[in-house]
Symmetry: C2
């Protein structure tokens, strides 16, 4: 199973908003064309990023902007904003292990802390990557 494309789309969106902020009105339609998905998908993600305080979206006149400094937005912020399923628990545990079996009764006690540790390692890596670094790389590649 994979982490859904919402995450990579969201990062793509933020890069677009920042890269084109001076030259275009960055609407859901505009972003959708760069990402190559339906504009409604973009608007839904914009709402999630807005709730997380990452972007601002203007009704009426239209267009999206970054809501706070890029070095205060980490990949983990973006991930949590758009990928929030089941309270952010990465591993899906089988639902009803048999409590009458010693293993079934203790499987959570055995595994939960380890699964959490793995998830934490991944999140720490994401927290260490800011959109500001990513934008520096992007600007080097985008000769606009």
């Amino acid at each position: 199973m994979q982490i859904s494309s919402r995450f990579t789309i969201a990062v793509h969106m933020i890069i677009c908003i920042e890269a084109f902020k001076d030259t275009h009105k960055v609407t859901s339609e505009f972003i959708a064309s760069s990402v190559n998905v339906n504009p409604v998908v973009i608007r839904r993600l914009l709402q999630q990023l807005k709730k997380a305080g990452i972007v601002e979206v203007k009704r009426g006149s239209g267009g999206a902007d970054i809501a706070r400094p890029l070095d205060e937005i980490t990949l983990l912020d973006v991930y949590n904003a758009v990928e929030s399923v089941d309270n952010g628990v990465l591993f899906h545990f089988h639902e009803n292990p048999n409590q009458l079996c010693p293993v079934g009764r203790n499987i959570h006690a055995i595994m939960d802390s380890r699964l959490q540790e793995i998830q934490t390692a991944m999140e720490a890596k994401m927290r260490a990557m800011t959109l500001s670094e990513i934008m520096e790389d992007a600007n080097r590649l985008l000769e606009l």
Copy 2:
């Protein structure tokens, strides 16, 4: 999106096989009862673990065994054995970014190495956890 329960089920299975090896014939039916899923789900996973050289399964007479020392089986081995989707790539990337847009054209160059780095951090953590450590914890909890 979450990592499927196949992973936690597979670990549960291995613990069962090891914990009951001296007292029971550990059949798919037996394991299914502990995990509380359909026996066919267990058999399918047993096949995947077998292909990975983690367990041995006896036809005819029935029963499963661990195929190699527990300290040579890591959580990453188990994860890769049962969770192998899309060549083990964790993040699903949106399929067709617009090549006519500078951002769409470069999004992979910008993100691929970072996504890989995150995945690698997670895998490193899983590689550091062996079934032998897990079994030690399990044995402490299972007064059989």
